[in-house]
């Protein structure tokens, strides 16, 4: 395909990635998923940069993507450390917990109604009928404290 169409396609993809990442950043409340969406925005930019680099026969595009990569790595390290700290002080990864910077006479945002957790049906292991059914406690099966 021609260079122009290639460029066109890549730019559209870059725009799509950026847009999806944007939606994710704005819409999600889990801090880690928000950060993930930000990384996705960076990916979209990288795609566009590489496309431009090839189009103009310039190494600059790829150079910038290398540095984007580097910076994304640093950013990930620090951001995740901070997120961990925030989690430790509040116990939740919810970004709506941190509203302390609001104006003094504004009411805090409070969740009005939360959807019910989808309780998954506990998956019982199918055992052959022979033999005594072993005892099992409900907690052990349902509780998934640690992944």
């Amino acid at each position: 395909m021609g260079e122009l169409e290639l460029l066109h396609g890549y730019l559209i993809i870059g725009a799509l990635l950026f847009g999806i990442g944007l939606v994710g950043f704005l819409a999600r409340r889990n801090m880690i998923v928000m950060f993930l969406a930000a990384e996705m925005m960076l990916q979209g930019i990288s795609v566009s940069l590489v496309a431009w680099g090839r189009f103009h026969n310039d190494w600059g595009g790829q150079m910038l993507v290398i540095f984007i990569l580097t910076v994304a790595a640093c950013e990930a390290a620090i951001a995740l450390a901070l997120v961990l700290m925030l989690f430790h002080s509040s116990g939740r990864l919810d970004v709506a917990v941190w509203q302390h910077l609001r104006e003094s006479n504004q009411l805090p945002f409070v969740d009005q109604e939360l959807p019910e957790a989808e309780v998954e049906e506990p998956v019982w292991p199918e055992l052959t009928p022979a033999g005594v059914e072993p005892e099992h406690s409900l907690d052990e099966v349902v509780h998934r404290g640690h992944v």
Partner: protein, 270 residues
């Protein structure tokens, strides 16, 4: 002052709107058992519309030798975009991370398709291999009991989707307008309408031979290294320092956190 919409622009707008709606439906919301399937369907339709927007597909008859390349490109693009949508809309953060890994694979493939070999590999190694793994570690450390409530709701879903969609639409239109091949019929119309859209057809700035010598040369890595350590040497050094600083900073932050009191529901340190 809104310019008269050409059919391609109407197409773009429709695609944008559909993207918005599909994303909104896909985002975690309470209620509606059919939200997700409908969202998936609509998203695929939107994707299809975007694809049709591009001239590449309509010119399938531009030579069979380009067909393979085109198919590869479209597959990679589809993987990337679908994975991106998935990464953003999953209910469990771990699933989001996995889908993101898929997106990175697609992006790496796209880089390789462009001839950026180093970047393709670097994306996998650094991004998917290091950054994403760090994500997963943190998710492990910061897991709440069961599915947390904040994973089940989205914040201002409609507005966010709308904003994202508008952003995509605007970008697409800008890009298309800037890169549209010369269509003589449209140009006369637009000139008559008074919209001075200064579009000379964007010309390919360099020749294939030049490309083969530089970006697409077999000694791609040599050239890349030479460029990196000659023209961008200072930036490399600074980036190295930045990495060091980030490392030290992350450690410092994490150590501080060790002394903070444990709160209810806080995870134990690994």
């Amino acid at each position: 002052m809104i310019p008269d919409l050409t059919p391609t622009q109407i197409l773009t707008l429709t695609a944008t709107v559909l993207t918005a709606v599909s994303l909104w439906l896909l985002l975690p919301r309470g209620g509606g058992r059919f939200a997700r399937p409908i969202g998936v369907v609509l998203g695929l339709v939107a994707l299809g519309l975007f694809v049709s927007r591009l001239s590449g597909l309509t010119n399938l008859g531009l030579g069979a030798e380009g067909l393979g390349a085109k198919i590869v490109f479209w597959v990679l693009a589809a993987i990337t975009v679908v994975s991106a949508a998935g990464a953003v809309t999953m209910r469990s953060p771990v699933y989001c991370a996995i889908w993101f890994a898929m997106t990175l694979l697609g992006t790496a493939g796209l880089f390789l398709f462009q001839g950026a070999q180093f970047l393709g590999v670097a994306t996998i190694v650094v991004y998917a291999g290091a950054i994403l793994v760090t994500f997963l570690f943190v998710l492990m450390l910061a897991q709440s009991e069961g599915h947390a409530y904040y994973d089940r709701v989205s914040w201002e879903g409609l507005t966010s989707a709308a904003v994202g969609a508008v952003m995509i639409g605007v970008l697409t239109m800008v890009i298309s307008d800037a890169l549209a091949p010369t269509v003589p019929v449209d140009k006369a119309d637009q000139a008559a309408a008074g919209e001075v859209v200064a579009k000379t057809a964007v010309v390919d700035p360099s020749t294939e031979e030049a490309r083969a010598a530089e970006i697409l040369s077999p000694q791609h890595m040599d050239h890349l290294g030479a460029q990196l350590f000659s023209k961008h040497l200072i930036a490399v050094e600074v980036a190295g320092t930045l990495l060091l600083v980030a490392l030290v900073g992350a450690v410092a932050i994490a150590i501080q956190g060790k002394q903070m009191p444990k709160t209810a529901g806080g995870a134990r340190h690994g």
